[in-house]
Symmetry: D2
Subunit: 164 residues, 4 copies
């Protein structure tokens, strides 16, 4: 049976130390729950940190990559999906995730949150700024907010239980 | 020689009366300048209004559609491009536009603004709320702001002259 | 109202002199009929020859490009659509064409013919080899065959009249 | 470290009994080798048979789906990737596979073989007809041919050893 897939989205090269720490913790907790971790798969920032966390906890990791070749893949990706579609792979990230967790914010991340809201995927912002929260609230669709990784995972469990 | 293409992005079904009026005016002015108008091509909201404005002024209109069939196309589209890729067509909208004009805000529109910032396409927000401006400013990349359609077109001319 | 769009597909860098001559003639005749010419938009082979033919006859030309930037675009493209999706743009070529005309054969072209058959777009092979004809016949779906450009255009007219 | 991913492509609804049997055997052998099996992920034909074979042998299975929702997924897919891009997902199938194994032929399958040749992915046709072989040979690029599943797996091992 298809497994539950949880996406972790956030800045690549520009991720803060704090974003990466939260991402690593999210990856660990996702793996411990037995869920598959999805990220954008590159060897940078939130993607890479979440993937490393999941591997430390023995999880299965999926990376949806913008490139057509196995360049710039995080070594913590088990299953690299090469789209060759650049930023259009952000749509695949979102559609494939049962829940989208967001850790930090960048232009690429913002496109993923917006696409998740548009395509009705459940979104949880972890440690988001007021500016981000106010912006995404303006679309009138519900999304979750979490203080930290553990709080985010509780919200994911709640969202998944409502789907069944 | 490839013509200049100006994109107008904004809400579809949920567009306000005011958004549609600004969009129609943008379409007219884009056509009068001899630029090709690009929109998402559907028969709704900002897309449809901008396309109608451009056709009133005798312009050429391009619609980049999410569907694989000629359903739900605005009758004011001259050249419908059928992507069959759903929301991934938002990336094509942005990459194809020499300048992206934004009129109103929705989740789909937000994904386009974010993708334009990410892929370094010039963006002009027309009549944007403070919430939107503050959010997009947080990415640290420049974008334009215009009060109305005429103001937006002046900014486009300025942006195009710098490209040459 | 959306205009009729006729696609011309064929080899890029590896196109033969004969393929390019037929493509140029197809471009001219498509333009004379008032149809929009669609190609893959690059400055090579069948794409470039068909686009040049259409411009000589005063037609409107659409190029669906694999890249995210205005590099390697044929100067005979009026409206360049930048997909940034590499070979996935072949799907857009096919879906957007009311009829797909094929002139010469390469791996990329073969993918377009196969996708056109799969997505039920009318296909006409111009001057195809027996090997190609036999292969595509094996899918049990009808497609047209033309000896030369004039013959191909007659088939397109016939196919379009049946759609109305 | 990213795992080796072997794609099995072939007809969906129209697959023959023989194609499905070979596909099931390919899935089993791929799983026994410790490779990840990739298919188009739907609950039909060669995709479904290969996935079932891999699960019988305890393998990990990846399905790259055309839809944006978890409809029509084979129950033997562990990791469903939802592209929402229709036939454009065929490009992802091919790019993601270290080797593309082909079992039976349909228009969709032909597009995948052509795209694999175009993007320089190694291809092995299993039990192909002379018509198919002659057609794909016309592109002047090498591809493998196998009599049966065991023969195909030997060719995959050989191709993988040359990559290292």
């Amino acid at each position: 049976m298809p497994r539950t897939i949880i996406g972790v989205m956030g800045p690549g090269e520009g991720a803060s130390q704090e974003d990466r720490e939260v991402a690593r913790e999210l990856g660990k907790l996702i793996a411990k729950k037995g869920w598959v971790l999805l990220t954008g798969g590159r060897a940078h920032g939130v993607m890479h940190a979440a993937l490393e966390g999941a591997k430390l906890a023995g999880g299965l990791t999926l990376g949806i990559l913008p490139a057509a070749h196995r360049d710039d893949i995080s070594s913590a990706v088990d299953v690299p999906v090469l789209t060759g579609m650049g930023e259009a792979r952000n749509v695949v990230n979102v559609l494939t995730s049962d829940v989208v967790l967001v850790c930090g914010m960048s232009a690429g991340t913002a496109s993923e949150v917006a696409l998740a809201i548009k395509t009705h995927r459940p979104v949880v912002l972890v440690g988001a700024t007021d500016t981000s929260v106010r912006f995404f609230e303006s679309f009138g669709r519900p999304f979750g907010r979490a203080r930290d990784a553990a709080d985010a995972i509780r919200l994911v469990e709640d969202l998944l239980s409502r789907k069944e």
